[in-house]
């Protein structure tokens, strides 16, 4: 049985933990708002881009002269997994669920006899994937020094991926990130980056508009060649923003849970503290009374 002093100490320590988690929750909530705004304002660009590309891409589907970024290298041997996670922990299952998805995918590909290369964005994903897949990680990108997530950051990553592709270092690239659905639900998502894949349903609608009467300047092929690399960066940018929002969402709900748990713990500890204090007083009273009676 812990002594009264021990209990008091524990209550105090849990109380200060609760203060910290509470503060973290509020910080995450504020940052989530900003991240959400950023993700939202990036949406029109990505959507437009996708529409135009879906229209153009549909026209080129199956044609032998389609650009390599659209048609692929014709092989399926080397896979690049771009795994975007957070830079920090304390966000519940956020990092591990993305990493787990990427790991499952990697193991599946390895079992099929394919070569897997991993490029991690964010420290936490690298930490998790190092266990078991250390030799597959070809590059790690840290976003720790990036204060404000800008398009430039995504462009750097995009250019890196494109350079690798042009050097023939991989055939298929897949991007792993967490899609932001709501504060309590973030969905780990795998998206194929190269060769570019478009939503069929959307493509059909746009294909009509896209191929119908559009004039192209300089011409379709040049535009497609200009847009496809750009699309890679845009997709990465979108993924990073979604990830960012997801991260703060996950952190917020994790910290909310932690605060609540700390609260419960304090109640329990307080209860046993009070009980023990009462028991001690009763014991002292009995001692005094029985002492007085003995006289």
């Amino acid at each position: 049985m812990p002594s009264l002093k021990d209990l008091k100490n524990r209550i105090n320590s849990v109380k200060s933990t609760q203060k910290i988690t509470k503060a973290m929750q509020m910080v995450a909530a504020a940052k989530l708002r900003r991240a959400q705004d950023a993700a939202e304002s990036a949406r029109p660009y990505a959507e437009r881009m996708e529409k135009v590309l879906a229209g153009l891409g549909a026209a080129y589907e199956g044609r032998p002269d389609a650009p390599a970024l659209l048609a692929g290298t014709g092989k399926d041997d080397v896979h690049l997994l771009v795994v975007a996670t957070g830079e920090r922990g304390l966000a519940g299952g956020f990092n591990s669920s993305i990493a787990r998805m990427a790991r499952d995918h990697a193991h599946k590909l390895i079992a099929q006899g394919k070569t897997v290369k991993i490029l991690t964005v964010g420290k936490k994903g690298a930490d998790i994937l190092k266990r078991g897949l250390a030799k597959n990680i070809t590059e790690q990108i840290s976003l720790r020094d990036v204060k404000q997530l800008g398009y430039v950051t995504a462009q750097e990553i995009g250019n890196k991926v494109l350079a690798m592709y042009q050097a023939g270092e991989f055939d298929v690239a897949t991007l792993f990130y967490s899609r932001f659905q709501s504060v309590i639900s973030q969905v780990p998502t795998a998206q194929q980056l190269i060769p570019a894949k478009f939503d069929k349903a959307e493509g059909d609608v746009e294909a009509k508009v896209g191929s119908a009467i559009y004039e192209y300047e300089p011409d379709e092929e040049a535009i497609l060649e200009d847009l496809l690399p750009r699309n890679v960066s845009v997709q990465i940018f979108r993924a990073l923003l979604e990830n960012n929002a997801s991260f703060f969402g996950a952190q917020m709900s994790a910290m909310d849970n932690a605060t609540r748990n700390a609260g419960e713990m304090i109640t329990k500890l307080q209860l046993s503290y009070n009980r023990q204090r009462q028991a001690q007083i009763t014991k002292e009273l009995i001692e005094i009374i029985s002492g007085a009676e003995a006289l």
Partner: protein
């Protein structure tokens, strides 16, 4: 209804402008083009340059765009630019910095293809310097 064109300038980070304009001058890959009222659907790549928007009251504003593409359709003109901001924020000094950078790229470039691309970039920025000078004298 007055003949106008709905213009939107979107960068990856934010929607920069969404307005009704009388005419818009766009830096297309094959030269500047002016978009008035109902324009035939057109998709064009942009080179770095200035988008000049004359709004319905006749006020002229310029925006700098650092490449991208423009989509002209019935819905209006949408400029998707990787980098876009009001031209007033984009001064001579910045263009000179880009020229210096392009020069560096050019001197580091190897092979004919790379050199050609770098040279092209350099020329674009040098032209832009001239354009921005004339722009500031006009306004």
């Amino acid at each position: 209804m007055a003949e106008g064109v709905k213009i939107e300038i979107v960068s990856p980070e934010v929607l920069i402008l969404s307005a009704e304009a009388r005419s818009v001058i766009v830096p297309g890959a094959e030269g500047y083009l002016t978009v008035l009222g109902p324009h035939a659907p057109l998709l064009t790549v942009l080179k770095p340059g200035f988008v000049t928007v004359t709004d319905t009251t006749g006020t002229v504003t310029s925006y700098f765009v650092g490449g991208g593409f423009a989509d002209i359709s019935d819905a209006g003109l949408t400029i998707l630019a990787e980098e876009a901001r009001p031209a007033s924020e984009f001064g001579r000094a910045e263009i000179e910095a880009r020229i210096a950078k392009a020069q560096e790229v050019l001197s580091a470039a190897e092979g004919i293809d790379e050199k050609a691309v770098a040279q092209q970039q350099l020329d674009i920025w040098k032209n832009l310097l001239l354009e921005s000078a004339s722009l500031s004298t006009v306004h």
